[in-house]
């Protein structure tokens, strides 16, 4: 099955091509379009599963070696680059050499790409199915699925490519599809703006990524992962503050990752990207594309682990992003905005894990996050669908009764993200915090842990708030619009509902919308009664309801939710932490099935200076009792020597007082469970038990509330510092062009005209004058003579003729005569 993995990216592309090129012309029906799209992704998923199975567990398993399709000939020379000079880096500076850069188009199946393949195709399949229900009735149905298929192709190229340039192609491809899909409702100004913002912000990151690729090629003379990493592992480790070539490459890569994964300076595009349809938000802006940065950092972990500086930068940026986005998430009212900031925050957690050297745990969190965040986004989509495109949580509440499937599946996502044992989020998030506390890769691990723990509390709090405002409490959608801030969305819906615009576009997207002339306001008893008794008639139609009473979504939407809910509940079991070794009997239970063991072959070990664990390392689970201390030593004291003294280490300090590693781990687990509990309890207190408290505390912490509500004015700052300054620069350049450049041209023109006037004057008055004077003189002199000849009398002319004849005769005979 391995040799057919080239079909995995190709099938969605074919599906996208069919839908995109023929869907409009041949007027495909919605089931046909959906069938093509879902079918192609489902096939990809099946192939992926089969390939990963045979790669990892089949009879002739390739694991842990990477499998390249070029081994079976399914590749081609993509860029026959020829010779490149390699003159960077320690070795090459001593002896510059030439390398043959032939970039091939081949796919690589290894532990990392296999996980991403399964996430992308598996979660993608759920979301595709959901989208067939959610996008029902949209005018651009075929377009939507063409873009989605194209996205799947690009994302799979990104994670399956065997070299940096293929990753870059996929990287740009997903950026393009993200742009297209955010701007799917291109008739809406904010969607168009958001798509441009996403694209331009990503350009900043792509710039860094491109520079890093150039650096890789100039340093290693190859873009192929295998070549690059085999060379890179022999480079010396660059300690804190030392900027060697690998640090610069890592910096470029991380700038790229920041752009794609919405880390702190470049996070602004992701919340705005929620202007796209909700399945897009789930697939691209939660589950897959935004984790491309994580994929890249983990893929290049050799390079990152060579630069302690960049590890620290990654960890601190991740921690800062986590707390930053989590605090914003607390005050947002748009259900998708809350989830968007939650995504940014969770991505921060993942980078935190990478920064402290726990790359496998970062990928683990990518996986669990893909499950529960896709679940919650789809749940939010279901809510929005059921609420007739109402996104403001202040207009929701009590939906538990109306949307039971959505509610219970959402509940699974909520528990997972809060980090409640044994839901999936707990395993990954707790492990990240533990690794942060016990890291020997970087200093300041305790700070990262502290920030992460606070962010985890915030996460639990705002997710509980979301649950409470959406599914519990009073059914606020039945209220009449009372005016004021809380009703601005409702009031604007009232305005927009009457606009002609909506009549032209039957479903204008994820925003409050109403039919033209529809009555928007308190639901009358008879309407409510009608919906209550005939609600099932409307189910599945989705749009066109008269009243605001929500309804459960069709099966095409809640079945994917259920699948993802199951994954969100049990998905974490592949990564049970070492703290449970007394229960599970192994540090990494499950052998290769455990995600850390599975990923070990691609994680570089700075102590042994080799890629971890071929067969036998963690396979020898029964002897883990003896292996564990050695492992601990490798990551502990020995690691400290590799990265120097990293200062205060929280986990080690605790361990010194408890004298037990296991007890220390359990202390941290209990701490993370307690903070999750605190967050949930606070959420219940503020939004369920004492709903008035939220307003009171918002008033008491007014400055903080305002700052968070306004997203710390980052957008405004960028608007001032970047957009305005760019426009100023543009104006300055324009002024230069219009004043200086045009001035020179116009000045030259004026000079030319002046000169030509002078020359013209000379010509006219001097040259012409001379000619005229001479001509006139000659004419005056000669004219009487010739005028006299012209008598006008015929006979004069005849006489002249005769005289001439005579002369001619005389001349003719003159020779004879004289």
């Amino acid at each position: 099955m391995l040799k057919y993995i080239w079909l995995v990216p190709l099938l969605p592309l074919i599906g996208a091509a069919i839908n995109g090129l023929l869907g409009r012309k041949l007027r495909f029906s919605e089931p046909l379009i959906g069938g093509i799209a879902v079918g192609s992704v489902a096939l990809s998923f099946l192939i992926s599963v089969a390939a990963v199975y045979s790669y990892g567990f089949g009879g002739h398993a390739e694991w842990p070696r990477p499998y390249l399709t070029s081994q079976d000939g399914f590749s081609f020379d993509w860029i026959p680059g020829g010779a490149v000079s390699v003159n960077h880096g320690a070795e090459a500076e001593a002896a510059p050499r030439f390398a043959l850069l032939n970039v091939e188009w081949s796919y690589q199946l290894d532990p990392l790409s296999s996980i991403f393949m399964l996430i992308v195709t598996g979660v993608g399949l759920c979301i595709f199915v959901f989208a067939t229900g959610y996008m029902h009735g949209e005018t651009g149905f075929y377009r939507f699925f063409a873009y989605m298929g194209l996205f799947m192709f690009a994302m799979l190229v990104l994670v399956m490519g065997s070299n940096f340039l293929m990753m870059f192609v996929g990287w740009e491809g997903v950026g393009l599809c993200s742009y297209l899909l955010i701007g799917y409702y291109f008739d809406r100004q904010e969607a168009a703006n958001a798509s441009r913002k996403a694209f331009i912000t990503n350009r900043v990151g792509d710039f860094g990524f491109a520079l890093a690729i150039f650096g890789v090629i100039a340093t290693f003379g190859s873009a192929q992962y295998v070549d690059v990493f085999n060379q890179a592992k022999s480079y010396p480790i660059e300690l804190l503050g030392h900027w060697g070539v690998l640090s610069w490459i890592a910096l470029g890569l991380f700038i790229g990752a920041c752009g794609k994964s919405a880390q702190l300076p470049l996070h602004v595009w992701l919340p705005d990207a929620m202007a796209g349809p909700t399945p897009v938000s789930a697939l691209i802006h939660a589950a897959t594309m935004v984790t491309a940065g994580l994929y890249m950092v983990t893929r290049t972990n050799v390079i990152f682990q060579h630069s302690q500086t960049m590890l620290l930068v990654v960890a601190l940026i991740g921690a800062a992003t986590a707390i930053f986005a989590a605090t914003i998430g607390i005050t947002q009212n748009d259900i998708k905005k809350v989830l968007a900031y939650s995504t940014v925050s969770q991505l921060g957690f993942m980078f935190m894990a990478c920064g402290v050297g726990a790359f496998a745990i970062g990928i683990f969190h990518v996986m669990t996050h893909a499950f529960f965040k896709a679940l919650m986004f789809l749940g939010a989509g279901s809510v929005i669908h059921g609420m007739h495109h109402e996104q403001d949580m202040r207009r929701m509440g009590g939906l538990k009764k109306y949307m039971p499937y959505t509610y219970w599946t959402f509940m699974a996502g909520w528990l997972a993200i809060c980090g409640i044992i044994p839901f999936s989020g707990f395993w990954s998030k707790d492990e990240i915090l533990w690794k942060a506390a016990s890291t020997t890769h970087i200093p300041l691990g305790w700070l990262v842990w502290l920030i992460g723990t606070i962010a985890a509390t915030c996460t639990a709090f705002y997710m509980t708030r979301l649950m409470a405002m959406t599914f519990w409490g009073r059914e606020r959608f039945l209220d009449k619009p009372a005016g004021g801030e809380a009703d601005e969305a409702h009031a604007s819906a009232y305005d927009k509902g009457l606009a002609q615009h909506d009549a032209v576009y039957p479903s204008a997207g994820d925003r409050p919308r109403h039919e033209p002339g529809e009555h928007v306001g308190p639901v009358h008893e008879d309407v409510a009664h009608h919906v209550a008794t005939h609600g099932h008639v409307h189910e599945g139609e989705g749009h066109g309801h008269g009243a605001h009473v929500p309804h459960e979504s069709p099966p095409s939407m809640w079945v994917p939710l259920a699948v993802l809910a199951v994954l969100a509940v049990i998905g974490g079991l592949v990564g049970i932490g070492p703290a449970f070794r007394s229960v599970t009997g192994s540090e990494h239970p499950g052998g290769r099935l455990h995600i850390v063991s599975w990923l070990d072959p691609i994680i570089w070990n700075p102590v042994t200076r080799e890629f971890n664990a071929p067969e036998g390392g963690h396979e020898a689970a029964p002897v883990a009792e003896t292996a564990a201390p050695a492992e601990g030593a490798a990551h502990g004291e020995a690691g400290a020597s590799v990265y120097g003294n990293t200062g205060f280490n929280l986990a080690h300090s605790v361990e010194n007082s408890t004298h037990s590693e296991l007890a220390t781990e359990w202390i941290f687990i209990i701490i993370s469970l307690v903070v999750a509990g605190i967050g949930i309890a606070l959420g219940f207190l503020f939004y369920v038990w004492r709903p008035l408290l939220a307003g009171i505390w918002a008033q008491r912490l007014r400055p903080l509330y305002i700052a968070s509500y306004n997203k710390y004015w980052v957008d405004e700052f960028y608007g001032w510092a970047v957009t305005r300054r760019t426009m100023d620069a543009a104006r300055a350049v324009y002024a230069f062009d219009s004043k200086i450049v045009d001035g020179i041209v116009n000045g030259l023109a004026t000079l030319s005209r002046l000169f030509s006037r002078i020359v013209g004057g000379i010509d006219k008055y001097f040259v012409d004058g001379l000619v005229n004077t001479i001509a006139a003189f000659i004419m005056r002199l000669m004219s009487p003579l010739f005028r006299a000849a012209q008598t006008g009398f015929t006979q004069n002319y005849a006489l002249v003729m005769v005289l001439g004849l005579m002369v001619a005769v005389v001349l003719f005979f003159a020779r004879d005569i004289f």
Binding site: T791, G792, T794, A798
Partner: protein, 137 residues
């Protein structure tokens, strides 16, 4: 006197080689003219025509003088034609054909010229050529 001085040698030339004297001589010469005599008469006709063209004021008379010039040419053609036929030239007939052409052209010319004269008279109410100096302008 001048005219006489010109004409008398001409007449003498015309009748010079008469073998007999008196009237007989004249009769003989008229009956057997030689080429030179025709040429002399043609030249006289030509001169008379030219003089007419140059001196007469009436356009009609000028036309008549032009006819004289043309006929002088015709006479030359005929004379040479006959002379050459006597010498046995097979192409001698060309002179006579040419004469026919000249007569045709002269007829056409007369028709057009008289038309012009009529038009001229209608516009200027004169056919005196010294009153017509339009060519000057």
């Amino acid at each position: 006197m001048i005219m006489f001085n010109l004409i008398s040698p001409t007449l003498a030339f015309l009748f010079q080689d008469a073998p007999r004297s008196g009237f007989e001589q004249i009769k003989y010469s008229a009956a057997n003219p030689d080429l030179a005599k025709f040429l002399v008469i043609g030249a006289l006709l030509f001169i008379i025509g030219v003089a007419g063209v140059l001196t007469r004021r009436n356009i009609i008379v000028i036309f008549m003088s032009i006819e004289l010039i043309l006929n002088a040419a015709n006479l030359n053609f005929i004379a040479f034609s006959r002379y050459l036929s006597l010498t046995g030239d097979p192409d001698a007939i060309a002179g006579q054909i040419f004469t026919v052409f000249v007569i045709v052209v002269a007829a056409a010319e007369a028709a057009i010229g008289l038309g012009i004269v009529i038009a001229l008279y209608r516009n200027k109410e004169t056919i005196w050529i010294d009153e017509i100096d339009l060519l000057k302008w």
